[in-house]
Structure formats: structure tokens, C-alpha cells
Symmetry: C2
Subunit: 183 residues, 2 copies
DNA sequence: GAATTTATGTCAGCCATGTTGACTTTTTCG
DNA sequence: CGAAAAAGTCAACATGGCTGACATAAATTC
């Protein structure tokens, strides 16, 4: 813990001692900004697809995750997106009305509404994945042989420790569904 | 270009041929989602600081960049944030009114309004950098010796090619200002 | 079997932050 | 001088967050 904290700029509480910036501080601030710029361009990609069909970024996120996890519960989606039921409800209703997502009662627990992409929803999700994958593939190609593994490790480590296991499980399950073609 | 495209899922136009998912596709989709989750937690950090003072994420972004580039023009900030003058104007007015940012006419070109952090603004910016740097330092420590360099390369490559040089110049200039203590 | 809890949905209203369009002022530059 | 640039402002609107209150159906618990 001490070695980590030594990398950081002084807390503003300790107003007396504001140390000179170290090279390590500089590298960290650079990464803060690069992360911002990279994400800014990354999420702008789907906008081209969204604009013509009158949807926004909230629709993108829902379509993407429902497609990756066919049959997921509303609760699961809420936990992923970290928004309220009401916010999700609005977007979800539009997607169901326009035939991108279908909601069926759960077989074992019939209170649940399980979310599935329609063929139309799947096609849209594929467009999103295609355009964002293209950017990532370009970035990996431009940054060395181990860059895929490195990026994965770094991004995972950026996630809150208490969420990390969940995210890993979620992604592994989605990959498995895709691999086996299970529905 | 061909080798990059071979990594990608089929475009939904070519509806006839939907190939089986490859391991490369899977890795790319995983990174799409890891990027989402990492950014979700990354931008949630400053919220703790923002909530008590009644500011939002838009205020965070402005305070951060004004602090990193003391004396920047309004136009420069608009180009970084990619929002409209009107959206920025609202947030900027609040920050000026509450004494976090100062706006002075440019010396050589007096049409310009150059933006400076006040001491109060600098202190706030330091809090933001501290909390976000802590997360990044933790992530780097957890993901190997070269992870800083790797993350930097990857994030830079994720930025639109036409923006990349600008971002590099911007960051280099900010680091220089911080290093030399120039104001 | 009744009471409670859970999963979901919905109404109403508010807030933050993005947008477009039109227009003004000041200053610089050709 | 006239055009262009930098900035600011007013008005109206859209998106996507939020809280609070409440309803329904199904599962679970006592």
C-alpha cells in the first residue's frame, strides 16, 4: 500500500507540503486523459448507426448486453448498467415496441421477464460490435503482439475489486454462449 | 487492411454468410465490455467529491482540463470536450460564479477569454487527479512492469488517427507546464 | 393458507447536460 | 472599411439520469 501511495500527488488536506511533480505522477495524469480521449472516440462509433434509427447511447448499451446474454433478467441488466429501473424501463419499452428486444416470462420463476434480442436486435448488435471491434483490432495491431493480453489485464484491474469477479464471470458466460451457439 | 478485417464479425449486410465466431472475435468483444466496465468505475470516482459540492461530471471535466492547461482558450476546451458552446457556457458560468475558474482577456488577442483555475479550483482539480491516479496506480501495479507503457500505447491507438497528434501535443504541453511550474 | 418478500412495471415530476438556431459584441485581419 | 473570428446569450427542446409512490403477480416463508 505504501509503495502505491508514494506514486500519488499530495492530498489537498496536507496543504503545507505540496511536493514537486514526479515522473510517475505525470504518467498517471497522462493516462487519466488518454482514457478520457480513447473512451470519447470509442463511444462515438455507434452514434453513426444510432442516429439514422433515432436511438441514443442508452439504446446501444441495452441492445449490446441483451444480445450478449440472451435470456438475462431485468435485474441483471440493471446491475450492469447501474441505472434505475425507471430509466431502463423507458429505453426498454421503446426497444420492445420497435421489435429489437423481446421479453418473455421465466420458465422456472414466472415473475421474471427474460430479455431476448429479436433477429432485428441481433443484426443491430452485430453492427455495434463490428464498428467497435474494428477500432480495437486496429489499436491492438498498432501496439504490439502482447497488446491484447495487456489491455485485458489493465482494463480488468481498473474495475472495482468487488465487481471484478462478477465481470469476469459475466464475460466468460457470454463467450461460452456465443461459442456453443446456445440459446 | 485485409488482415484487420479478417478479425471482424461479418457485416450485417452480407446476411448470407454469418461465420462462426473466432477466438479473435471473442477477445475483441471482451475488450469492448471491459472498456465499458473500467470506464464506468473510473468516472464514478470523482462523484464522491462532486456530490457534496453540488457539481456534476461536466464540472469535473472542465475543472480538470482548465487546471492542466492554465490559460487555455474557450475554443480549445470546446474541441477537447466535443460539446457545444452553449452547454459549456452553462457549466463554465457556474464555475466562475463559485470561484473555481477565472476568465481573463487574452493579452495579444483581446477577443479571447483565457481560462485559469483559482487556488480553490486547483485544490479541487488535485482531489480529482488524486482519486483517479490512485485507481490507475493500483491497476498498473497489479498488471506487470511494462503495464504503464502498454496502457499508454493502447489507449493512444484507440483514439481517432486524426485526433492522435493533437492529443499527444496537448498532453506533452500540459506535462511541461506542470514540470516547469510555468503559469 | 395467510403473510411477506421479490421481480417487475408504471405514473408523475424533477434535474443535468446535451442539442439547434438566431443574434450580439468585441476585436482582429486582409 | 468590411469580413471573419472569439466569445457570450436567449429560447426551446431532447435525452437520459434521478426520487418517490404505488400496483401486480408470483414465489417464499411462517
Amino acid at each position: 500500500m505504501a509503495d502505491i501511495n508514494s506514486l500519488l500527488v499530495a492530498s489537498p488536506d496536507g496543504a503545507a507540503a505540496v511536493p514537486a511533480e514526479t515522473a510517475e505522477d505525470t504518467a498517471l495524469v497522462d493516462l487519466i486523459e488518454l482514457f478520457f480521449f480513447a473512451y470519447r472516440d470509442f463511444v462515438a462509433d455507434p452514434d453513426q448507426i444510432l442516429a439514422p434509427i433515432g436511438f441514443g447511447r442508452a439504446h446501444h448499451r441495452v441492445v449490446h448486453f441483451v444480445n450478449r446474454h440472451p435470456g438475462m433478467r431485468v435485474t441483471d441488466l440493471l446491475d450492469i448498467l447501474r441505472i434505475t429501473k425507471q430509466s431502463l424501463g423507458r429505453v426498454l419499452r421503446e426497444l420492445v415496441d420497435e421489435g429489437f428486444v423481446e421479453s418473455r416470462a421465466g420458465a422456472s420463476d414466472r415473475r421474471q421477464r427474460l430479455l431476448y434480442p429479436t433477429p432485428k436486435g441481433e443484426a443491430l448488435a452485430r453492427e455495434f460490435v463490428a464498428i467497435q471491434s474494428r477500432r480495437i483490432a486496429r489499436a491492438l495491431a498498432a501496439s504490439g503482439s502482447e497488446s491484447g493480453t495487456n489491455a485485458r489485464r489493465f482494463l480488468l484491474a481498473m474495475i472495482n475489486p468487488e465487481n471484478r469477479a462478477n465481470v469476469e464471470r459475466l464475460i466468460a458466460r457470454a463467450d461460452e454462449i456465443q461459442r456453443t451457439g446456445r440459446r
